[in-house]
Amino acid sequence: MPADIKGLGDLPQQEKERLRQTGLEEDMTKRAGSYFQINQEVIQAGSQAEGIEVLPISEALEKYDELKEYYWKAVPKEKDKYTAYVARQKEPRGVFIRAREGAKTVLPLQACLYLAAERVQHVHNIIIAEKGAEVHLISGCASATHNVAGAHIGVTEFYVGEGAKITSTMIHSWGAKISVFPRSAAFIEKGGTFLSNYVCLQPVKKIEMYPTAFLRGEGAMARFSSIVMALPASTFDIGSRAILGEKGSSAELITRAITRGGNVISRGHVVGASDGTKGHIECRGLILGDGLIHAIPEIEGKVMGTELSHEAAVGKIAREEIEYLMARGLTEEESTATIIRGFLDVKIQGLPDVLQKQIDAAIDAAEKGF
């Protein structure tokens, strides 16, 4: 990578446009902090927000001894060959974000992981919101426009303290030859909230992930929302899991999946292990090409006082809906696109407007392909 690239602004126009579609801002006045990594090189890391640190993970490990308490605690090192690969690396890469007790960002923090050359990109991120803190993170992950083959392996550990809140919005824009293996988990303490949003409507070779939220305190809450479209030759094996371990904790796992010829396996698993817990899995799939949507929702109740449910529906667009709009003068193509746009429109409660707008924009950008 050329040495003169100091930030997003220094990238060629075409690449900038690609990253913009993943919700990344060149104008840092709209972001509270930023981390930018190209391949394995950390280009930029810093935060302007009071009480919030953004550091390269290698620096944070040197600086803070207490980081050991978080490093490989939510995600086990030996979980699989991908976590083992990341753990083996002599020079760890990734971002460390910590919001000190009570610190809140109005503006989101952004993390950009960009794969430009033909190689493996690995990261290990630690995101901590201490008691009462609030962090909104948007991560854009993309690969260069020219067609490189490669893999991205990302471990992310989220720690949501008592009464704290972390929202993580990840928008992917990979290439057709890139495989992606995120490995994430979140510990959520008493009264904490964790919102995880994932959007990928662009080509990718394979994405495989199954993040877990451990609800470890009374009244903790987690919500996963995934919006994906599998183009031909794309495979998504995605899911999310919530372990409702403490009284009154709750989780909601929502997926909207479209196949235009690719494969989507949508997993979900909620374990109700404590009284007064509530969990719900919702998966809706639209088959618009000869692809596969395989929904595998699992609900596992371990105590009497848990309430778990799931609903899954997979099919094509109802003819009746298309004709309803055609009767208002829309062409068949316009009607279909309008219905698909609506299908993907998941409004996420508790997400700041600016991030909801980024999600909406990512869907709008994909709309011409509907």
Partner: protein, 243 residues
């Protein structure tokens, strides 16, 4: 404006409508009555061109053009509009957004239209999701007001509407059909399915038809037909092709 000649329609390989002949002139509104399951809604759907009913014989002519095989949206462009009895819910599509698409460059704001039907609160809701019976009807009328069709197919506009909103609906539909304009200037027309005839309290219809077992068995003055049906049931219409 609308001519139907010798129309035969099948739904799922079963002939539902047999040899329908109907003619509605420019500026005229007709009502269509008949027992449940007689094929009234099927006729409206066939005129709009929906894929459920299949025309096996006969012609539908609108504004002098054969539209029998025309796609739904082209019929809409030619000026046919429909008020659904049970419209589908479309997840994620806001009523307001659809209205803005349907409006296509017309200056008046959607909010102004919505206000006239007490519908402002529903603009930001997914279309038809959790709408009450009356809200569905008002939403359908609102869509037609924005679409401005020349000829309207109205499937039971009064069903599920409470008394207070019935007046609002009745007046709005009368306005859509230009019943407030002088007869000679009236250009819009429609075909209304009604069971109760309440809609006739708000507008005069120019003709009535009774559909029984897929055939139009009687043409005549709508109020007369209604009176006879109320008194003696639809069987009476079989005896008398002209009331």
């Amino acid at each position: 404006m609308l001519e139907i000649e010798d129309l035969h329609v099948e739904v799922g390989n079963k002939e539902i409508l047999h040899d329908i002949n109907l003619r509605i002139e420019k500026g005229e509104t007709h009502v269509l009555m008949g027992p449940n399951g007689s094929g009234k809604s099927t006729l409206l759907m066939a005129i709009m061109g929906f894929s459920g009913p299949r025309v096996t014989k006969g012609l539908i002519v609108f504004k002098g053009k054969d539209i029998t095989d025309m796609p739904v949206n082209e019929r809409a462009k030619m000026g046919i509009g429909i008020m659904f009895q049970r419209p589908p819910t479309i997840a994620g599509l806001k009523l307001g957004k659809l209205l803005n698409v349907v409006k296509r460059g017309n200056d008046q704001t959607i909010e102004d239209y919505a206000k006239s039907l007490n519908m402002e609160a529903l603009l930001n809701r997914d279309i038809n999701r959790g709408f009450s019976g009356g809200e569905i009807k008002r939403s359908e009328v609102l869509q037609l007001i924005v679409q401005k069709p020349d000829f309207m197919l109205l499937d039971e506009p009064e069903s599920g509407v409470d008394l207070e909103n019935m007046a609002l609906m009745g007046r709005s539909i009368a306005h859509l059909l230009e019943k407030d304009r002088h007869l000679v200037h009236r250009e819009k027309g429609g075909l209304i399915i009604t069971h109760t005839g309440y809609i006739l309290d708000y507008l005069d219809a120019d003709g009535g038809h009774v559909l029984i077992d897929g055939e139009i068995r009687c043409h005549g003055n709508p109020r007369e037909i209604l009176k006879v049906v109320k008194r003696s049931g639809y069987r009476e219409c079989l005896k008398c092709p002209q009331i």
